[in-house]
């Protein structure tokens, strides 16, 4: 269980195979099928294990400002998925319906309702933010050294033909943007957008 998470963390989601896990536990694959119905079942349990980790220090400080609470929640989830690369990929294989995922969703939805979001807006805002976090977390990639890849990508932009690609060339120094920065930037954009909608809703 924790051994499985360790493999996914250190070597990426595609390294988490039944055989690999079995040999890590000095056991055989058939043995695993006594504890887990299938690989999908194993994945489900790992995923909820990570949601549990995201859950822990969530509620102690109830934030006054919903925007801060939103940011904190989303960033925390992103950070946890960043510490467990590969788990985001596993999340694609099945929707997270484990007990801890349920608790986290409940908290997030309650937070929105408590802050005066009408139900339809609360649901859409939560759903969209959750997808946003997962979408970016997936792109963190299996186990890669992000800095190296960014450097390589930057070189690609700098070597472009400036007449064929003037805009890209002009922005070569600004690209690529680190994924973590994109996430933080995009999250704040969405929260700013939500704030406008919420204000609209409340003044009606």
């Amino acid at each position: 269980m924790t051994a499985a998470l360790k493999i996914a963390d250190e070597e990426g989601s595609q390294a988490l195979t039944m055989r690999r896990l079995a040999s890590e536990l000095n056991s055989s694959t058939a043995m695993l099928y006594r504890h887990f119905e299938s690989r999908a079942d194993l994945v489900l349990q790992i995923v909820d294990c990570v949601f549990k980790e995201a859950e822990l220090p969530a509620s102690p400080v109830p934030q006054a400002d919903w925007r801060q609470a939103c940011r904190a929640l989303a960033r925390r989830m992103f950070a946890v998925l960043g510490q467990h690369r590969g788990v985001a990929q596993l999340l694609l294989e099945a929707p997270p319906n484990g007990p801890h995922a349920m608790v986290l969703r409940e908290r997030a939805l309650a937070m929105m309702l408590d802050n005066g979001f009408a139900p339809p807006l609360a649901a859409r805002a939560y759903a969209t933010l959750a997808r946003f976090v997962l979408g970016f977390a997936i792109q963190l990639g299996g186990q890669s050294a992000a800095a190296d890849e960014d450097a390589a990508q930057s070189a690609v932009f700098h070597q472009l033909d400036r007449t064929a690609f003037p805009a890209t060339f002009a922005l070569a120094d600004e690209l690529p943007v680190p994924l973590e920065e994109e996430f933080a930037f995009g999250l704040d954009l969405m929260i700013a957008g939500l704030d406008l909608l919420r204000a609209d809703e409340r003044e009606r």
Copy 2:
């Protein structure tokens, strides 16, 4: 090449194996390695093939409003990736640096610069929107029947204990939100947020 795209479209990215493609072409795997250096190389070519498709009717009508242009670009890319499920997954395997991907990026960046975005903001806005589109497109999933899954998920929410999960229960009728709607909603939130930043920037 188009056969490979067809397999990925119809049966998901994980169905696109060298053996499967070879047998589709009445050939053998070894033959494929004469045309493609590796599976990664095959993936690269398929990906750019899809970017080409997204490229076609992009430039004819230069939009007056950058927000409309932004929306149109992002929605078009999302739609194309939605028609080629599985390709978004393939995009994770390597950054898109094919010729058509380059052209698309150039157009998007030029659009932002032409509309008065300063370089650092243009770069971050583009990068974030591109990630956003891909992040959501990936979650469209391999080949699934989305409606069935949404119905199943809705049932999960309706069967919850209403005292343990009051907020989730209260929003059971609103959840889950269809992914396409989340995408459209989130995109408009980000554009609204960007509009605020751009206004800030221009009045300075």
